[in-house]
């Protein structure tokens, strides 16, 4: 059952996101009001360790468990899609207090009204797919 490892990793993700309270609408408010260090601490530590680890992977050509080299794909260089898309995302993040991961973690935690948010997130993604060719990238 090759999917077990992803299930377990997902469970760990659900646990850390809830125990850290990163799934809380209040924590996102504190973040966007610059009134608490907490969310910056979480993301900051993850990024610093991430930069370190990715550097080590590249330097020592560390392979994955299939024996393949771990490859990083550079993203297409542009500004428009990242800036506009990011801004739209950020507005939703502040309004709902959740990005896609936390939405489902919240559902598991017991905040079932998050199914409304998540359902509409899927609709939002569908809308993007439909409008994509008309949008600047």
């Amino acid at each position: 059952m090759k999917f077990i490892k992803f299930l377990l990793t997902g469970i760990l993700f659900g646990i850390v996101m809830s125990k850290s309270e990163a799934i809380s609408w209040y924590r996102i408010q504190e973040m966007f009001r610059f009134q608490s260090f907490h969310m910056y601490g979480i993301i900051g530590v993850a990024v610093v360790l991430g930069i370190l680890g990715v550097w080590l992977i590249k330097k020592f050509n560390i392979r994955d468990y299939h024996g393949n080299p771990i490859v990083f794909y550079p993203k297409e260089r542009s500004v428009t899609r990242y800036l506009i898309g990011g801004t739209i995302f950020g507005m939703g993040w502040a309004l709902s207090g959740a990005c896609p991961g936390p939405m489902v973690v919240n559902i598991g935690f017991g905040f079932l009204t998050m199914t409304i948010v998540f359902g509409f997130a899927a609709i939002g993604t569908y809308l993007y797919g439909v409008l994509r060719s008309y949008l600047p990238h």
């Binding site: 966007f32 739209i88 950020g90 507005m91 973690v105």
Partner: protein
Amino acid sequence: MIEFISQSWSWWFSGLVISSIMFILLFFGQSFGFSSNLRTICAAAGAGKKVSFFNFNWKSQLWNMVFLIGAILGGFISGTALKGNEPMVVAASTVQDLKTLGFAEPTDLQPSELFSWESALTLKGFLILSLGGILVGFGSRYAGGCTSGHAISGLSDLQFPSLIAVIGFFIGGLFMTHLLFPLIF
């Protein structure tokens, strides 16, 4: 041990665990990026027949959907077996700001003003939740990633586009919080 884990986790330990999750996924030949699940869901629902963006080999992304199921389970475990009994502590200044907008003192992870069924099923409450969702779903795919994909994975790989995305996240979040909230709430 269970009691210790049941207390809310510190930022540094949480950051460490999240970073580990990114590396675990890399080690298993994938990458940490949650919003692509939204695209997979649309594709699995048949959107690929009409919209080319969803016409891709979504079955190759099933591992991430399993990760999503795990995330729900993790939330469930945290909400039950690992549930602590500390009160929700929110920064005093935030509590004050939210009071001005009509939010009561926080007693739980989520404000009942937004996430109770009473609120969610009012017209205004439903519009807030649905609009929040649409903006996240639309914006994350437009930007090609959300917090996990850009802020965590992208920045770890020193990707300049991810930095732009994160800047965008903040422009949007700040605009919503400081300029739009007083109009909405």
